[in-house]
Subunit: 406 residues, 2 copies
């Protein structure tokens, strides 16, 4: 496509990729649909696009209220007019990952040719547990097809935290010529044994739910909500630091609403942290699909960039011209700073342009989603510097003033 | 009792306490039974007794094969002839905690007066979820009644790791005049918000199991094995360090025995750490009761010695003559060194006799159960020094040569 589509804020779009994709597992998945949101305006040179990659339980609603929960977008404090990822200057794209459950092709999508054998052969059943295993590389390849479809040849930047950061690293390794700048945050070049272990417990919690029904839980309208809630609760602990939990909840007690009749001394109270976790679990299951949780955690577990490059992470980034800003948080024990440092060192060995920042924070892994001014400053400053090097127009919005809403 | 019972190795005993105990929650529980094992010989002065306290999922089988699993006792590398807790010298006692499931009164015990209304009114139903909440202090008070019953007026030492360490601290706080030496290992003076959070996820995993049945799972012979296994799997991760998991398993894959038909690329493999965790989960449920798991985790959550003493841990140990050896492990993130240091500092402020050792180990919280020579040396040396101060006889065994097996 020679002339990029004119895109202006805010777009919700379902991009159809009829050609599909041959996955790492060998299965050809076609057609594909990828759901996205975009913010800001693509300039005429189509060189101001930033791809924001979401984490395990995130989605494309980065900077606007979530359609299910009504809560602000997961990065609405980072993406917007005048914010560090400034939609006055950049065209910001966020896509639901392949395998997700907010519109992109995933386990909840109808399986082609899966008629239920009834008199209505056009009715398809969801993929469910038969959905093929997805890798982080598959997610990135699907994103690559989408940006080509939108007429974007090259991304100014790819940014994301946690599993989003894995996608950033994979973008830089697979399509170095398409990524001017990369910001992997609170992430790792592979999933550690401990990370895998926590994911496995999540999966077993889902399997233990009576409503799991072997993954075919759509049949009777019940979903494995309790198992998925347990998975979420456990994961949530790993996203926070011990300090953050202590500061937020300590050992404070509250009346147990689930046990209001009991005498106080007999289980009539609960710790506030328990109440908080239960709420996290129960609100999560309203917006997330258990089979997607299995698919995406598995993709994270299999992520290991060095293994794809003779065991040497530096080889993955050899001859790269991408500018990197690697960011970690001091209290993140799920993706500890040592992992980000390993990325930075490999990039150094590949003679890449890299800056590495460990941000002093007591908020744990989730710090990238929270009010952390040092993160804001780091991202804003790095993007401004990279934009200067890239020779980006200063105010693309004025050039696109005539662009209508898509 | 003026004359102590002569006790010689090895004894399994169920001590009946007809008078029972008024628990912290206000319920009077009577009669009580406490199951114990002992090793070595109580000397005539009855001053060589060491109480070993077990952790959450431990039991009284400290130094002999477990009757259910056949595996060596959980501290068989520490307790025995010539070992750091030397049964040639000391009389070593280990009791299943109140609320446990290996013989001591707990949720699996028959509830007095709970006939099922059938024609056989003498049949009692288990307590189940109606078992009253237990505190660490309740556990210790029950142990106190048992040692009095055995004719032991004073313990030479109380030793334990994790929840066992909580009991050690509670013994020293509640009965300072009865404890000559105390060795709290890998423990804390209170359960942190993060500790409580992990326990709460364990409990929710049990509740999510269809076989939980509101806790009355004995009726149809099915037990909430999947939920309990998930709880155990998650807890097990917290017992190990990231380094230990990486060293033991890394990212190695193996054929998935649960999915032997699948092509390798399609979920036909699993990570070794997953296989290990599943095994940990499934073997645990053979020997543990879900209601006991709930009761004991709750006891740990409520543990907070300072809260019982005007919020000041030093007050808990005021005027103590007990000699303390506080031990932590550098890679223990569940009960981090900072918690042990807080204990040591409080003891310092109480002008207690205390040594504090952080052992450099990469084995995580479970290091106290594993091959850690520095721990062996520390315990052996501390006990020898304390025995000297206590004026213990050198070889009590010879004095008791005539003692028969109980």
């Amino acid at each position: 496509m020679d002339q990029p589509t004119v895109l202006a804020e805010t777009i919700h779009r379902l991009v159809l990729l009829p050609q599909g994709l041959t996955l790492d597992c060998g299965v050809h998945l076609a057609p594909l649909e990828i759901a996205l949101c975009s913010y800001g305006t693509l300039n005429r040179a189509a060189d101001n696009a930033i791809l924001v990659c979401h984490a395990l339980t995130g989605d494309q609603y980065a900077a606007e209220p979530h359609p299910v929960t009504g809560k602000p977008g997961w990065w609405s404090r980072m993406v917007g007019s005048g914010l560090p990822i400034d939609t006055d200057r950049y065209f910001v794209l966020c896509m639901n990952v392949l395998g997700g459950c907010m519109g992109s092709t995933g386990p909840r999508s109808p399986r082609p040719g899966s008629g239920d054998g009834s008199t209505e052969p056009h009715i398809s059943m969801p993929w469910g547990t038969d959905f093929p295993p997805i890798t982080i590389r598959d997610m990135v390849r699907a994103q690559r097809l989408v940006i080509a479809e939108l007429g974007i040849e090259r991304l100014f930047a790819v940014i994301g935290g946690s599993m989003g950061g894995m996608q950033v690293l994979q973008w830089a390794a697979t399509y170095p010529e398409l990524v001017f700048a990369a910001v992997p945050i609170a992430t790792a070049p592979f999933h550690s044994a401990q990370n895998i272990a926590f994911n496995e417990v999540s999966r077993q919690a889902i399997f233990a739910d009576p409503d799991w029904q072997g993954g075919r839980y759509w049949a009777d309208g019940r979903v494995p909500a309790r198992g998925l809630a347990v998975a979420r609760m456990m994961a949530h602990i790993t996203y926070l630091s011990e300090e953050a939990l202590t500061r937020k909840f300590g050992r404070r007690l509250r009346r147990d609403p689930y046990n209001a009749e009991a005498p106080l001394a007999l289980f009539g109270e609960m710790f506030e942290v328990e109440s908080y976790l239960r709420h996290q679990g129960s609100s999560f299951v309203r917006r997330f699909d258990a089979n997607s949780y299995l698919t995406i955690t598995r993709a994270m577990d299999y992520f290991d960039i060095a293994a794809d490059h003779d065991g040497d992470l530096a080889v993955a980034f050899r001859n790269t011209n991408t500018r990197f800003c690697v960011i970690s948080f001091s209290s993140d024990w799920l993706f500890p700073t040592a992992q980000s440092r390993a990325v930075a060192r490999a990039l150094n060995r590949a003679a890449a342009n890299v800056s590495f920042v460990e941000i002093d924070s007591d908020k744990g892994h989730d710090a990238f989603l929270l009010d952390e001014p040092a993160l804001d400053r780091t991202i804003r400053g790095f993007l401004a510097g990279a934009a200067e090097h890239a020779g980006l127009e200063q105010r693309p919005r004025s050039h696109a003033a005539s662009a209508g809403q898509a």
